[in-house]
């Protein structure tokens, strides 16, 4: 399995690692049993993501996709951030090995979960924004987290 130079760069020098004490949207997805967990902290001001941090337990691709996802949504509006797909993360990283695609799905879902948390706190319904309940991407046979 070979990672692109971009993936290795975002793994070796991850952007936006850490926590945000004043985060108003926090999302965590994944499962230790499957080997990856992503936690994303958002600071949203007037619907603009002014700051973002992450913490990830997982492989090189899990760290790199978290890092890239935070870069892609930083400074964006909530609606724009919700448009960010796992494919956009993959493209921005110059591709991922097939077995690592689920890491990009996890990154997309971590962003959605954090925004969902923000919306709920604001008294809005995430479903109105098209946010579905997060799951692992359905590519793991190791857990029944998805309930499917």
């Amino acid at each position: 399995m070979i990672y692109s130079a971009k993936v290795m760069d975002h793994f070796m020098n991850p952007r936006n690692v850490g926590e945000l004490a004043d985060a108003n949207g926090i999302g965590e997805v994944g499962n230790p049993k499957c080997g990856d967990i992503m936690k994303i902290y958002l600071k949203i001001d007037h619907d603009i993501i002014t700051d973002v941090k992450f913490k990830t337990f997982g492989c090189g691709a899990a760290v790199a996709t978290s890092s890239m996802a935070t870069e892609l949504i930083k400074g964006k509006s909530v609606k724009e951030a919700l448009q960010m797909t796992n494919k956009a993360v993959i493209e921005a990283l110059d591709g991922l090995p097939p077995v690592k695609i689920h890491c990009s799905v996890l990154a997309e879902e971590a962003v959605q979960a954090a925004i969902s948390d923000y919306l709920v706190k604001k008294g809005e319904n995430p479903a109105d924004y098209g946010i579905k309940a997060p799951h692992c991407g359905g590519s793991c046979s190791c857990c029944d987290h998805c309930g499917e």
């Binding site: 399995m1 290795m8 793994f11 070796m12 991850p14 690692v17 926590e19 965590e28 230790p32 049993k33 499957c34 080997g35 990856d36 967990i37 992503m38 936690k39 913490k55 990830t56 337990f57 997982g58 492989c59 090189g60 691709a61 899990a62 760290v63 090995p97 077995v99 690592k100 590519s139 793991c140 046979s141 190791c142 857990c143």
Partner: protein
């Protein structure tokens, strides 16, 4: 610094072995099956290697058959015995739940063909007992196949005692000794096994050559159909270079065995002690006794194996992991799950494996780099935060 610490995966070819093989890439090109002198030279080289292997594991040269690798040896032994003796004995096979894929997948295929397999569970250190084997025996048991030493954690099974159980019940026993030969004493008479697999590249011979020991009078069906090579048991023109390399490497490995074992075990113990002192919340998955001299398997809790391997590699250290992410499988190592590790701790495993070429300086370098890597990944891990919060 570059540190090759993945000798259980494969080893570097010994330069003396390369030297011994060189004629086979030059004038020693005859076909051993021919009668003229060019062919006889090649035949002599093959027979010399057969003697070297036989001497190393204490059997007759006529009981050694050259194959292409450990996987072929395992498949030949298991399938060959199963099909040959099924009609006479039955279709039940006993094994463990920590075997190599070469054994597992062969057994899975046989299950589809109507064989029944008992997978004995190992204890939390990775051992099965002769009593477990005895209790699993049935009148229709045709074969017991249990590895000598485990490739991931290094546990060494009580093969001698298990073989005694097999013998007293008239059941044939095969052992996959791919991780053992060249690393610990392997004596087929003392062990009492009927078939034993070995692979050259695990002890500084090239890839592409292995052997199967088959006790005289034991007759596994052939895997392949073809010519009369290897006394009609294993067709195909001989891999002369590889066979010469296998012979030279096994002779060298066994000649220096005692001294090498001491050195390698010293490195192993230094690494284990150092890891336990410098990295909090680790679990050593290698057993505390009856283990290979060169294997260290450790789980660093709250981080994942592949990310550790990538950072080790960035620092010039080659190691491997039982994490699902490192292998491309969906589940972590079956061996680590078999010794009772939860998935998340199995995902955080790293295996270092050493040979006589490794040095104390290399161990100290790993001990300098590895704790920093663990710390760096833990600072990035949400699980590490949670674990520390739970304690506070």
């Amino acid at each position: 610094m570059f540190v090759y610490a993945d000798n259980a995966a494969t080893t570097k070819i010994d330069p003396e072995v390369v030297q011994a093989m060189m004629p086979a890439f030059g004038e020693l090109y005859g076909n051993p099956s021919t009668i003229y002198s060019k062919g006889r030279e090649a035949k002599e080289a093959v027979e010399k290697a057969r003697e070297q292997v036989a001497k190393a594991i204490n059997c007759r040269p006529s009981e050694i058959y050259f194959t292409s690798c450990g996987t072929e040896s395992d498949n030949w032994a298991i399938r060959g015995i199963a099909t040959r003796y099924a009609a006479k004995k039955g279709k039940h096979i006993i094994t463990t739940n920590i075997e190599h894929h070469a054994v597992f997948e062969c057994l899975k295929a046989l299950e589809k063909e109507g064989f029944e397999v008992t997978y004995l569970p190992v204890d939390e250190e990775g051992f099965v007992t002769p009593e477990q084997v005895k209790a699993a025996l049935r009148p229709d048991t045709v074969l017991i196949t249990i590895m000598t030493a485990n490739n991931e954690i290094g546990s060494i099974q009580p093969i001698e005692e298990i073989a005694a159980v097999a013998k007293s019940h008239g059941v044939l026993i095969h052992t996959d000794a791919v991780q053992a030969v060249g690393h610990i004493p392997v004596d087929v008479q003392k062990m009492g096994v009927d078939l034993l697999s070995l692979s050259g590249h695990k002890f500084h011979a090239p890839k592409g050559v292995g052997a199967l020991y088959v006790r005289r009078g034991v007759l596994p069906d052939n895997l392949m159909n073809g010519g009369g090579q290897e006394r009609n048991r294993r067709p195909g023109t001989e891999n002369i270079a590889g066979i010469i390399g296998l012979g030279a490497a096994i002779e060298k490995a066994t000649a220096n065995l005692e001294q090498d074992m001491k050195h390698v075990a010293f490195l192993r113990d230094r690494l284990i002690d150092g890891i336990l002192k410098t990295i909090p919340k680790c679990k050593i998955n290698t057993p505390s006794h009856d283990r290979l001299p060169g294997t260290v398997n450790v789980s660093v809790k709250h981080i994942e194996g592949e990310s550790m391997l990538l950072l080790l590699d960035m620092n010039g250290i080659c190691a491997t992991s039982g994490s699902a992410c490192a292998s491309g499988d969906l589940d972590p190592s079956h061996v680590l799950l078999a010794i009772g590790l939860p998935h998340e701790i199995a995902h955080g495993s790293v295996r270092f494996s050493f040979c006589a070429d490794n040095t104390v300086e290399e161990i100290d370098y790993i001990l300098d780099v590895f704790p920093k890597i663990a710390q760096r990944l833990r600072e990035m891990s949400p699980l590490w935060d949670e674990a520390n919060q739970d304690e506070n």
